[in-house]
Assembly symmetry: C2
Homo-oligomer: 127 residues x 2
């Protein structure tokens, strides 16, 4: 398996995740190391490296909201990856489809959130 | 201006850039600091922080291929930003629309590049 990318000094690489279906929203950004990347390619389900918990993390392990890998790309510098996925329910731990649900105005203040939650985080993560 | 995000220990935050027009491709990822972020919001043109040259960098300064800011979002953790832009010509210094022109197969090997270059880097960056 060719996983020769430019990792940070911590052995990590940013992974941008986009939904494969229209309108192709950006869902989240996570961090991967070689292990989580290999696991992602082997299983077809996105795995990350948790920088806070220092462990391999299958997206959807708790919530059930997994991400199925459809296509992936490297950027020209080989220091960032882009994954196109089929997202089950919402990617965001706050219950939204995308972690980027909060639009800001040009002074950095939050605009009203128009997106509806897909699930109740209190119920999903209480399990 | 409210720029209170979670920056890295180097004072940086990742900026994912997506084209605003259909199909809304992810164009690149760059790094910003407070200064480049403020400059982006003030001018409406995306500015980054060059980690190699240690300086503020207006995207398109050399190539002319600027990115006009349309909308922007923070993620739920306030540690990643998403910008929707109007991209002039190509975002990639190799002449492609997107830096993510290289698709990989599930063993990490490059697939044939089907995208056409929008400009010749040798000519654009020789100026």
């Amino acid at each position: 398996m060719n996983l020769d990318f430019k990792y940070t000094s911590d052995g990590l690489i940013p992974a941008i995740v986009r939904e494969v279906s229209s309108p192709g929203r950006v869902l989240m950004m996570g961090w991967m190391n070689r292990q989580s990347l290999a696991k992602t390619l082997e299983t077809g389900l996105l795995h990350y490296w948790s920088r806070s918990r220092h462990q391999l993390w299958l997206k959807g392990e708790t919530s059930g909201n997994t991400q199925r890998l459809i296509r992936w790309f490297t950027d020209c510098d080989r220091d960032t990856l882009l994954f196109e996925v089929e997202q089950s329910s919402g990617a965001c731990h706050q219950g939204y489809r995308s972690c980027f649900f909060q639009e800001l105005d040009f002074s950095g203040e939050p605009k009203p959130v128009i997106e509806q939650r897909l699930f109740d985080p209190a119920k999903v993560y209480a399990k």
